[in-house]
Amino acid sequence: MTESSAVGGAPRRHPTAGFRIFEGQATIVMPDGSFIHVLNEIGSRVWDLLNGQRTESEIVDRICAEFETSREVAEKDVREFLAALEANRMLG
């Protein structure tokens, strides 16, 4: 994660990202239109939580509360997922 995308530890979706969540599954398109991303249920839930107000830790809390998983696994997966979003310039 870079400082710009997670100021105060509260990552947020890139403001220019277009997305819709259908039946719990997100379709995301970035402005340059090069790629269309489809996330699974959990990735979609994390994406939905990236409003710039929740910290990464709070997002992990929510995932642990909503899905059957250990905190350790959820932390790792959320961190990797956010890194992937950052690498694809989908946070801002």
Binding site: G18, R20, F22, Q25, V29, G33, V38, F67, A84
Partner: protein, 337 residues
């Protein structure tokens, strides 16, 4: 519940058909190379003012009505022959206006043949300044104001038939944005009408769009390249568009047909259908939209695609090179009126 949990970013649609370069292959008429490159700035169209002639022609596609002015007689005759029922001597009242002028420059973009070993098929640039779209390629630069519905099309001297290419490629871009702004989509697809309802088959190049039309003997073919999908009083409907390759006949109807099915084509050894989730269906549709995605209009396209897939789920149609796939569609009740 899910256990173990894996946060999974799924770049499902990173197939070649969704890359910018692949999209640029679609929906265009190929052109020969130019030797120099000129990028028209904001003031270019006020300098390019000399018309090619004194003739005009009306063009209508659904609710897009345009009057081309400043055509040479030969231009008008050529466009009449090409666009058939989509053009008229008299433009529709209230039609937008496009002045056709001489470019005043040798050309615009330069073909980058064999750049990095990949031949360029067609390159087109789009620039938005507010509601004004400027689109330019090798032999033309055009602008269109989506508020005043006025525009200009500058055509450079070129080998072959520059008027035909310029008008058609400019119209394709303007149409794609026009219908997107009205809740419709210009889709890279083939369309077949069976028993009064339209089946749309889409996918990247070589996925079988033309093949499907050839396997639909006796049906009304809307097209095998671009189809307009727009909202009607009774839901989404499909229409033919007059844009096509160089030598094919123009469509015989401009009627809209209610949608029977949306199929992402996959060539296979058996015929079968796979239901796609709405998110995947919308993504697949968006991957078949020329011009609008690379112009930063993906968000609007997603909104429209969302409404479409709510009304008509997308299925993946695996098919052999045989008309048997129609039996599959009919067994699903999708080939019946």
């Amino acid at each position: 519940m899910h256990s173990p949990v894996r946060i999974y970013r799924q770049p499902i649609l990173r197939a070649a058909g969704f890359r910018r370069r692949a999209r640029a292959r679609r929906g265009f008429i190929p052109v020969l190379a130019q030797e120099s490159e000129f990028h028209p700035g904001p003031d270019y169209f006020s300098r390019a003012i000399h018309p090619r002639g004194e003739h005009s022609l009306g063009f209508s596609l659904s609710d897009l009505h345009l009057a081309f002015e400043g055509l040479a007689e030969g231009d008008r005759n050529l466009l009449q022959a090409r666009y058939g029922i989509f053009v008229a001597d008299r433009p529709t009242e209230g039609a937008g206006r496009i002045r056709v002028v001489q470019a005043g420059v040798p050309g615009f973009l330069q073909s980058r043949h064999q750049e990095r070993g990949v031949p360029e098929i067609y390159r087109l640039e789009q620039v938005w300044r507010g509601e004004l779209l400027t689109a330019y390629a090798y032999e033309f630069a055009g602008c269109f104001d989506f508020v005043s519905h006025r525009g200009q099309l500058a055509i450079a001297p070129s080998q072959g038939d520059p008027v035909h290419r310029a008008v058609e490629n400019f119209l394709r871009v303007v149409s794609a944005h026009w219908f997107l702004r009205r809740g419709g989509l210009l889709i890279h697809a083939s369309g077949v009408v069976r028993e009064g309802r339209a089946h749309l088959f889409f996918g990247p190049s070589s996925s079988g769009k033309t093949t499907v039309t050839l396997l639909s003997d006796g049906d009304l073919i809307l097209g095998d390249d671009l189809i307009l999908l727009r909202e009607s009083d009774s839901g989404f409907a499909a229409c033919a568009v007059p844009f096509r390759g160089l030598y094919r006949e123009p469509p015989q109807t401009d009627q809209a047909f209610p949608l029977a099915g949306l199929y992402r084509l996959v060539k296979d050894r058996d015929d079968f259908l796979v239901d796609l989730s709405p998110s995947l269906g919308a993504a697949e549709l968006m991957g078949s939209l020329p011009f609008v995605m690379e112009a930063g209009r993906g968000g609007e396209a997603l909104e429209t695609a969302s409404r479409i897939v709510r009304e008509m789920p997308v299925r993946r149609l695996h098919f052999r090179k045989s008309a048997d796939f129609w039996r599959l569609l009919q067994s699903q009740g999708e080939g019946k009126g």
